[in-house]
Symmetry: C2
Amino acid sequence: MPTMEIWLEYASTYSYLTVARVGGLARKHGVTLDWQPFFLPPVRDQQSLGFPFPEASAKTAYMWRDLERRARRYGLPYRRPEQYPVNSLQTIRVALLGAREGWCQAFTEEAFRLHWTQGTLIGTDENLQAALRAAGQDAARVISAAASPENKEALKAQTPRALERGIFGAPSFVVRGELFWGDDRLEDAMVFAVEGG
Amino acid sequence: MPTMEIWLEYASTYSYLTVARVGGLARKHGVTLDWQPFFLPPVRDQQSLGFPFPEASAKTAYMWRDLERRARRYGLPYRRPEQYPVNSLQTIRVALLGAREGWCQAFTEEAFRLHWTQGTLIGTDENLQAALRAAGQDAARVISAAASPENKEALKAQTPRALERGIFGAPSFVVRGELFWGDDRLEDAMVFAVEGG
């Protein structure tokens, strides 16, 4: 089956639209998802790109409006979280462990669902525990393993891997070295995976 | 007929995809286009947003790749211009005069076509003269009128009007106060114009 890398940052807003849709699209197109959780700030810092959504800017106001419209268009439940951005680092470390162990998708879908529909924010213990339960994982074991030096190093190593691929934002999709950025390009990436595969 | 404001900056890259498609889409959907040429740098400066495509960044490299892919997907001819960004100020002044006089669309379509398919760049006399010919205008008269204090002031007045609408980039579309940003949202804006109109 053709494979698509999905590069996700758990504080990213548009990533909700992708996480809520990508499982169904991957099944429909017959594409295997290769989950690549990463921490976006060091990737942007390396490129002298600032935070993409400065507080109180028109660009940020538009992002919220657009996100709500897109969720409605896709028929997805949507509730604007009370905090933005959230501290996503621990969740990303857990997700990376999940990617290595094979339960990243179930964990990620539940973490985003809670954040974007229930007000249980990514970065809180409640979100983490519930998402691990949904993925069938023992929270104590996973939280300890995610904080291990090996796993922290594995996450740091995601930064140069992202840079090699030309990544500068999230969500991003990579298919046979071809980069697609943004939820808007998810279908294009899927089609490219299938057609050229 | 429902109306859609189309806010265009003539140095904007993705605007090519919009200019090449918007006339046909407007006819298909029965939407009247209200052309709003504007100069983007002061709009972004007011919001402390920098130049969106810093030279030699991964984001800029991606934009070129994505633009080419999108043009191919839409079946549009595409030839990457040798210069970026170009000095678009005079062309925008002319386009604004065209919007007031009713020939903006014909002028704009030819200016972008020459820039994006023939290598005759926006900002050159050759581009300006040819685009004016395509719009059936007398170049000497128009170039003089475009440089008049009245027209220069009219262009400056576009900055606060853009800011009022929450605009921060180009192309942007405004329908009944609802903002849509980017060529990716052109169809959504058209549908919104028709459905709520």
